[in-house]
């Protein structure tokens, strides 16, 4: 019973990772940080728009898209040698497949809940589970063509990410290919948020104002969903379909408890991602468990800390008010207005 929790040996947990095989640990942490922070940025908009569970839905339903892209890749490569580079595991078809699946999911959910009496939550649950089931069946049936493993899809494992191939420029090894890919996605995400900052901000907080300013809430919604799919796909091999939901929500939720200023929230998200990636690695080394899972658990622990801190400060403020001390300034609320921000509502 007790033997399943390894003894806490500070040397093994804290020193060894940074003395033995350092570069692997470094890249794991960097990869974890990039995944968590990128997902966290995009996820913050989901939280603001009260669509956090759309992340869950899309992360599940891109699976048939991935499987389909593998199948098409295999079919395209034909009967010839199933070489590793033969398009099957190329990242471009994967992104395309996931994008298509994400768009289909979004459209189907909207369609079902607008065209029938089924409410949005049930529509979401029905669509994503059907697509996920389809994906799992595709993966199992065409196991020899689809380079995905059902378990891996569920939890992913950052430790299994191939960090051996280095991205080389001018004969110098810069960073492993997966990290480079994730870095590109992160930079693109940052650029994307910077580019559409105003549109996203306005349409998240005040869809009515957005419409009157000529910003189509519908278009922003689809743009966000498409980008969400890109980010989820790139995070997929590290964290899998379900932990990616945590990567999307936990950083943003923690940051929302700590600040009500959007730029500052993004800073908190980045910090949260860094700390949970590092802490997660050590937790995983200690418990000898899934690194991705441990990073999320560490992130959740940070959320609990933030929750406790914000509850305590609320309690203190209330007590100060009760004892007649000058009240602290009311916190500005940082959530979109209740009805119009539901994802189903269009500009109409």
């Amino acid at each position: 019973m007790t033997d399943w929790i390894p003894a806490f040996d500070p040397h093994r947990v804290f020193v060894e990772p940074w003395t033995v095989n350092v570069s692997l640990k470094l890249w794991i942490v960097v990869m974890g940080f990039l995944v968590l922070t990128t997902c966290g940025w995009v996820g913050q908009y989901l939280i603001l728009r009260r669509m956090a569970l759309m992340g869950d839905a899309i992360s599940h339903s891109i699976l048939p898209g991935l499987a389909g892209s593998f199948l098409i890749g295999a079919w395209w490569a034909g009967n010839g040698s199933a070489s590793g580079e033969g398009g099957a595991r190329g990242s471009v078809p994967m992104f395309l497949g996931a994008l298509v699946a994400a768009v289909i999911t979004t459209v189907l959910i909207e369609w079902i809940h607008r065209r029938s009496r089924v409410k949005q939550d049930a529509a979401m649950g029905t669509v994503f589970s059907a697509l996920f089931a389809l994906g799992v069946v595709l993966i199992t049936v065409f196991a020899d063509h689809v380079d995905l493993d059902a378990d891996c899809v569920l939890h992913g494992e950052i430790g299994f990410v191939p960090f051996e191939d280095y991205f080389k420029v001018g004969g110098r090894e810069w960073m492993p290919v997966p990290v480079a890919r994730m870095l590109v996605v992160s930079l693109l995400t940052a650029a994307w948020i910077g580019m559409f900052y105003k549109e996203l901000l306005v349409s998240s907080f005040d869809p009515g104002l957005a419409t009157s300013l000529g910003i189509s809430a519908q278009r922003v919604h689809f743009l966000l969903m498409a980008w969400l799919a890109v980010v989820i796909v790139s995070a997929f091999e590290s964290v899998g379909a379900i932990l990616v939901v945590a990567a999307l929500i936990v950083p943003g939720a923690t940051a929302t408890l700590l600040s009500s200023n959007l730029p500052r929230i993004f800073l908190w998200i980045t910090l949260h991602a860094a700390v949970s990636a590092l802490a997660g690695l050590h937790l995983a080394v200690w418990l000898d468990c899934s690194i991705a899972g441990a990073m999320v658990v560490a992130g959740c622990a940070l959320f609990v800390l933030a929750w406790a801190a914000s509850s305590w400060s609320q309690w203190r403020a209330r007590r100060l008010m009760a004892t007649g001390a000058p009240p602290e300034p009311e916190e500005r609320t940082l959530t979109a207005p209740p009805t119009p921000s539901s994802p189903g509502r269009s500009a109409a």
Partner: protein, 469 residues
């Protein structure tokens, strides 16, 4: 590629027959357990899912089903083996803890419900994954069963599991039958329920407890990830098929049960096919069928109805235009040329021709003079007069009773003229004191008038009812 595919097809063809015979003879005890378990869980999930769908808690079910994972793993560690009772207890505790944490987050922070649910879903699942990976590297103990909980495997259902499942199903059914009234009221009108003294919170908590039981029971068959589909999809399909809760419960549990059996059968045929995803796919196909073809709420049915309505309104507008043409020359001649109609509606001759043909098809008019002259039949005249009467009566009603300005009433009347029934028209005429002039100074036709002026006897039309008290 094709050659290979054909070969596989041949092999599976024979195997399918054999497998089907094996399936329906129920010789295999494993198979018996699997089918019985899947069918029972289908019933329990269908019943509970109905309440989730009508209470809009579908995503709570999703969260709860993910949140049980650490409990499953802990139960596994506790018993060091696949002990159904330990796993059951652990999973129920974890699931309930998950829903409580989600409620606490929502109450004490400014995070909204979706974020709270997502946090619990992902956080609990992450803890579960850590535990599962720790179990998998354990040197001792039977660790083969744990991964079955992720995707489920009906074939792994044991006699002990089956006992647990039947207990859960019976409990769910008994509770729902006994507390049907309470569940009904709190689902549809919580405010009323609270006002009349129903313990709303308690009932909700009880429902969550039952839900945790059902989720844990169904884990074996469909796995952590897809349990929520077994809860939501059959119930959502049933929601499209009926408007009564009692019937919805029945339909949802039937779909759930059938889905379980068919899913088992298909996955048995395909041998390598995972049971849970296949069941979910079957349920999704049922949902898609209900979404498209449900008798009242189906998309296709509603589309057909809407198209028929649209066409009727189009025909009626043509009739009205013909009436206006006739009226503009004081009903002097009987026929209306297509050109007159086109001019009146400011459309092309082709449009007028199409509209004329639609009228002819429905016996409202006849064409003469090489298709150029349109003459209303008695039925057409009656309907045209009715429509114009409806329109003008409504305009008059709006200006008189509702005090609309005379130039604001046309659009409204344009819509309502197609749907006013006889009783309403009588009532309108009575209230308007049998007035015969509309706000724009035009005559409101009575049926008798419309027929008399054209000078034709009409068979089979009841005596004029419009103007006679």
């Amino acid at each position: 590629m094709p050659a290979r595919a054909a070969k596989i097809g041949e092999i599976t063809d024979i195997a399918i027959l054999e497998q089907a015979i094996r399936f329906f003879s129920f010789q295999d005890p494993t198979l018996r357990f699997a089918v019985a378990g899947a069918a029972m869980m289908g019933i329990a999930c269908g019943v509970l899912g109905t309440f989730l769908v009508v209470r809009r808690l579908a995503l709570v079910g999703d969260t709860l089903s993910h949140a049980v994972l650490p409990g499953v793993a802990a139960g596994f560690l506790w018993g060091q083996t696949k002990n159904p009772v330990a796993i059951f207890v652990g999973a129920v505790v974890a699931g309930l803890a998950g829903t409580m944490v989600a409620t606490a987050i929502r109450r004490t922070t400014r995070l909204k419900e979706d974020t709270a649910l997502g946090l619990v879903l992902a956080g609990f699942y992450a803890v579960g994954i850590c535990l599962v990976t720790m179990i998998q590297r354990l040197p001792t103990g039977n660790k083969s069963g744990i991964d079955k909980f992720l995707f489920g495997q009906a074939a792994a259902i044991s006699a002990g599991d089956l006992k647990l499942m039947s207990a859960v199903t019976v409990l769910v059914l008994v509770v729902v039958v006994v507390f049907y009234k309470e569940l009904l009221v709190t689902s549809f009108d919580p405010a009323f329920a609270r006002a009349t003294g129903f313990p709303v919170r308690l009932i909700q908590d009880g429902l969550m407890l039952l839900l945790a039981f059902a989720v844990v029971g169904a884990l074996q068959a469909v796995g952590v990830v897809l349990v929520s589909a077994m809860l939501i999809t059959p119930a959502a399909a049933a929601y499209l098929l009926t408007d009564r809760l009692r019937r919805m419960l029945l339909i949802a549990s039937t779909i759930g049960c059938g889905t379980g059996i068919v899913g088992c059968f298909l996955s048995f045929l395909g041998n390598s096919l995972p049971t849970g995803p296949i069941m979910v796919l079957v349920a999704s196909v049922v949902f898609a069928g209900a979404f498209l073809f449900a008798p009242r709420h189906g998309l296709v049915v509603r589309w057909v109805k809407a198209r028929a309505r649209h066409r009727r309104v189009g025909r009626e507008n043509t009739l009205k235009a013909l009436y206006h043409v006739l009226e503009s020359r004081a009903f002097a001649r009987d026929g209306v040329t297509l050109k007159e109609l086109a001019l009146r509606r400011r459309e092309t001759l082709d449009d007028a021709d199409r509209q004329a043909k639609a009228l002819v098809r429905h016996g409202l008019a006849v064409v003469e003079d090489d298709g150029q002259l349109l003459r209303l039949t008695s039925e057409g005249k009656k309907r045209a007069a009715e429509l114009v009467r409806n329109h003008r009566l409504w305009e008059l009603y709006l200006t008189h009773a509702a005090r609309y300005a005379a130039d604001h009433v046309h659009d409204d009347a344009e819509k309502i003229e197609h749907v006013l029934g006889e009783d309403v028209v009588w009532e309108l005429e009575r209230r308007l004191n049998y007035a015969d002039t509309d706000p724009h100074g035009k005559r409101i036709p009575t049926l008798a008038e419309g027929q008399a002026r054209t000078g034709r006897a009409v068979e089979g039309v009841p005596p004029p009812e419009g103007g006679v008290p």
